[in-house]
């Protein structure tokens, strides 16, 4: 042991000197000429960089940042607006649409972007039955490109599909032509980084499990962005992401949990963007009849008065306040407010009020009395207690929390609830087997209401309409809106369908939760929301915000260092480790020598 002492000292010395030398070299790098980069924190990993394999949150944001659609969603209300195409005109029978493209648009590799690329992208989706996009092309359309800037869309029946607009990214034919005819699985596996794109940024690197980066597209056709690149950093938990925002490692955090807003404290340099979200929290009732299911949901749910009583017993505002900490709005119809143009806001005086007393009376009047005095009402028709088996998705923010409140609300009107928190995987089991009386999950959809109405139609029992609600009037309105080409006329029908779904209560839209984005207002400014001021400021419906965002005057943007770690910490750490070893061994030895 004795012989080790000088060696140990030398080792400590070497490590210390190395530690001293390293920070000097690293931190000496000058950030002055560094490009301006926006750093985004997220807790959702990227699954695919391939637009045909996009499925979860950030897959879409990557595609939206890189690619254009023929028409984009307008910032104000998500209605169709010019993008690669300047507009689409229909023939009087709405079976032929002529879309005009901008001239001189180029792909990021310098190749021209023409109507042929648009037709190719649409055909690619249709021919390969790409599930996410194929429903945008009803009535077997064919596409013609008489010249580089004209796309003609011919459908076999009248349609407004071209103007919805189809949420389909236009990809370069000269890159993707090689993949024509491949199996869907192979197409989904095509790697796409770096990509050839038409949008303002192109993804240039993706380190799995850590993050991904975009650089500016030198050939972008629109207004040039103020930033040179965007870096997404992946955090595996919300707390870490919030700390990173506070200490300046990132400039904006995407998707904060409402419960953690408080931990941002009163930081004046952090602004929270409470986005009118594109999803809603839904309590669905089960009316039974799913193909292959032998579960018999509570028969009383077929009685509208029972559903009304449940609706009136639920304090939606309490869900908003307690579960979403005020970062949501109370729900009403099945087209959420993010679809600003189509959403029907039920007037306050027509809404079902929160009124447990009236709810109790409704049940009393219907003969649902607590005959055995156990606090639970019984159905007069069959004597069954009003008891609901209610799974709630633990993967949906707030679903279980809302469920817990609802258990209490319904207890007050003599209805008992067996709340079963379940992962989305397990929820799918319930949904597939139809083995529930009610459940809490979320719904989301396109800005256009067609899809959202579609999932509530009778024929969707066993597919999308989990609770098998059937309403002929609603079905008829769905069909009718499908064939109305004039948006204003269609709006009236769409709103009537929402009204029917609201008053017939296939389920209860509990809340429209917000999506929370928090950014450092001392670093970047000029964000644009979509839809509207309270919309998403990170690419969701379009990439406009990334074009307009710029460093705050006088700030270096994000080109500075990532954390203000003093170099001496490492020295202290190394000295502590070395010193600790040294002291433990040395003091022991001294004592032994004394003993000896």
């Amino acid at each position: 042991m004795r012989g080790n002492t000088p060696m140990l000292r030398t080792a400590v010395l070497i490590v210390t000197v190395a530690a001293l030398a390293m920070p000097g070299s690293a931190r000496g790098a000058s950030p002055e000429t560094a490009p301006v980069r926006l750093r985004v924190g997220t807790t959702v990993d990227l699954d695919s960089d391939n637009p045909f394999a996009a499925s979860a949150g950030n897959d879409w944001s990557v595609a939206t940042t890189q690619y254009d659609m023929l028409l984009k969603f307008a910032n104000e209300d998500l209605t169709p607006a010019p993008s690669l195409g300047t507009g689409c005109e229909s023939s009087s029978d709405y079976m032929t649409w002529t879309c005009t493209l901008r001239e001189g648009v180029k792909w990021s590799d310098g190749e021209p972007l023409t109507a042929a690329d648009v037709a190719f992208s649409y055909r690619f989706v249709i021919d390969h039955k790409i599930p996410q996009y194929k429903s945008y092309f009803p009535f077997d359309p064919v596409f013609e490109t008489p010249n580089d800037t004209t796309l003609i869309w011919k459908a076999k029946e009248p349609t407004f599909a071209p103007s919805m607009p189809p949420w389909v990214y236009i990809v370069p034919e000269h890159i993707w032509a090689d993949d024509v005819g491949k199996e869907l699985k192979e197409i989904r596996a095509v790697p796409n980084t770096p990509a050839v794109v038409s949008g303002p940024f192109m993804m240039t690197s993706w380190t799995h499990g850590q993050g991904w980066s975009f650089e500016r597209n030198p050939n972008y056709w629109g207004e040039q962005p103020h930033i040179d690149g965007v870096d997404y950093r992946l955090y595996s938990n919300q707390e870490a992401m919030i700390q990173a925002l506070k200490n300046g490692e990132i400039d904006i955090a995407d998707g904060l949990e409402p419960g953690l807003i408080a931990s941002l404290g009163d930081s004046s340099n952090i602004t929270i963007q409470k986005v009118v979200s594109d999803w809603w929290l839904n309590l669905a009732f089960n009316f039974g009849g799913q193909p292959g299911s032998d579960y018999e949901p509570l028969p009383a749910l077929h009685d509208l008065d029972v559903r009304k009583a449940i609706m009136m017993a639920i304090d939606k505002q309490a869900i908003v306040d307690k579960v979403y900490q005020g970062t949501a709005t109370t729900g009403d119809t099945i087209i959420r407010p993010a679809s600003a143009y189509w959403h029907l806001d039920i007037p306050a005086d027509e809404e079902y009020p929160f009124d447990p007393v009236a709810a109790n009376k409704l049940l009393d009047d219907g003969g649902y009395l607590d005959t055995d005095d156990d606090g639970i009402r019984e159905d007069p028709a069959n004597g069954l207690p009003l008891h609901l088996v209610m799974p709630a998705s633990s993967d949906t923010t707030g679903a279980v929390g809302a469920g817990e409140l609802i258990v209490g609300f319904l207890a007050k009107i003599g209805i008992s609830v067996d709340l079963k928190p379940a992962t989305d995987g397990k929820m799918n089991d319930y949904w597939g087997a139809g083995s529930f009386d009610a459940y809490i999950w979320y719904w989301s959809g396109d800005p256009d209401p067609n899809y959202q109405l579609f999932v509530f139609t009778s024929e969707q029992c066993g597919a999308w309409e989990d609770g098998c609600w059937k309403n002929e009037k609603f079905d008829a309105l769905y069909e009718e809106q499908h064939s109305i080409m004039d948006p204003a006329e269609r709006l009236a029908v769409v709103q009537e369908a929402q009204r029917i779904a609201y008053f017939d209560i296939p389920g209860i839209a509990l809340a429209y939760p917000g999506w929370l984005e928090a950014y450092r207002n001392d670093r970047f400014e000029g964000w644009i929301g979509a839809p509207g001021e309270n919309g998403y400021i990170l690419p969701t419906y379009n990439y406009d915000s990334l074009i307009s965002v710029r460093p705050v005057t006088g700030s270096a943007g994000s080109s500075g260092k990532s954390s203000s770690l003093p170099g001496w910490i490492w020295i202290v750490a190394v000295v502590a480790v070395g010193g600790g070893v040294f002291l433990i061994t040395r003091r022991g030895r001294r004592k032994e020598m004394d003993e000896a």
Binding site: M1, M22, P23, S25, A26, R27, D45, D47, A53, S55, A56, P131, Q132, S135, K185, A189, S205, H208, G209, Q210, S213, R233, L234, Y235, S236, N237, E239, A240, M241, Q243, A244, K246, N247, G248, E249, A422, D424, G425, K426, N428, D429, G432, G462, A463, S562, S563, S564, L565, P566, W570, A573, V581, I584, T585, R587, G588, R589, E592, M593, A596
Partner: protein, 321 residues
């Protein structure tokens, strides 16, 4: 003769364990609730027919025994399959994560065992001294503290309050050379500290009690009776014998290195195997979970086997029995 039998016995045990792990690994994840395709369905808007197709594609609608045979066959030929989530080869995904995990858990185990053993030797030798009582208390506290909680505290304080260290991740990106090394070290510091503090306690406790046991052995007494200086008694007679149990523990821990440190990696967004495990469990990505678990189990078995072998070398008594 004895030695060969010992080796053969240990290797056979190890192989049997591997076979058991392989089967257990397969079954465990199939009795978990939920359905991996179900998760894809909601986000991908597939029709029931397409869902069925996807299930066939992924081999999920085959009867379990056939899935099992397929899995074993595939694993034996060295393929771990593809991720259900993004179709990437599982082996590639695991390979990407090996470096960060080896760096964090490897260094952490080295530091923790080094300090733990030294503290244990000193405490056990000077039983009842001030150092012993305080280090034992410290070890017990560190051993008892959940590493996740400790990590979260360190993160909130050093990253949130002081802003000295990054809040997570492996590196800032875009850096090269020495700057990159320093940047990675910056990111490594807090998880490494957490891991070291979290594991130092167990080593010191085991080493200490082993030291105390050994000091009462007759051969130690006779060494002392012969007048061997205390320093020599400790170095030549006590420490080598007391070290044996700790040695196994350290080796086992190195086996666990490949499993990653799930909790710590998750708290610090450290892109290692532990975080991969956490993420793939969340998305029911069977092939990935199976791959990571298999690798982790194999590493432990191999490390254990190696410890057993070396043990036999270090302690001839074991070979003889």
């Amino acid at each position: 003769m004895g030695a060969r039998r010992y080796v053969v016995k240990k290797v056979t045990h190890a192989l049997a364990t591997v076979l058991f792990i392989l089967s257990f690994n397969f079954l465990l994840f199939r009795i978990m609730p939920g359905d991996p395709v179900g998760i894809l369905v909601r986000s991908d808007r597939l029709t029931p027919a397409q869902v069925d197709e996807l299930r066939t594609d992924l081999g999920l609608n085959l009867p379990l025994p056939r899935q099992y045979l397929h899995y074993v066959g595939q694993t034996v030929t060295g393929s771990l399959g593809e991720s259900l989530r993004n179709s990437r080869p599982v082996s590639t995904m695991i390979f990407e994560r090996l470096g960060p995990t080896a760096l964090l858990v490897g260094l952490g185990t080295i530091f923790a065992s080094l300090f733990g053993v030294l503290i244990g030797i000193k405490g056990g030798w000077n039983r009842g001294s001030r150092f012993d009582t305080s280090s034992q208390l410290g070890s017990l506290v560190l051993y008892a503290v959940p590493e996740g909680w400790l990590g979260m505290l360190l993160l909130l304080f050093f990253s949130g309050v002081l802003g000295w260290f990054p809040a997570g991740g492996f590196e800032t990106g875009g850096l090269t050379g020495m700057s990159r090394v320093v940047d990675v070290l910056d990111h490594l510091f807090l998880p490494l500290l957490t891991l070291t503090l979290g594991y130092v306690g167990q080593y010191s406790i085991v080493m200490r009690s082993s030291m105390i046991d050994t000091t009462h052995e007759e051969y130690v007494m006779s060494a002392r009776a012969k007048g061997v200086p205390e320093r020599m008694v400790r170095r030549n007679h006590v420490v080598p014998n007391a070290f044996l149990p700790t040695f196994t523990l350290i080796f086992l821990s190195f086996g666990f290195v490949l499993g990653g440190a799930v909790v710590i990696e998750t708290i610090f967004s450290w892109p290692g195997l532990g975080l991969l495990t956490y993420d793939s469990i969340g998305s029911l990505d069977y092939p990935v979970i199976q791959g990571v678990f298999l690798l982790g189990s194999l590493a432990v078995i191999v490390a254990n086997l190696f410890a057993d072998m070396t043990y036999g070398y270090l302690d001839p008594r074991i070979r003889e029995t």
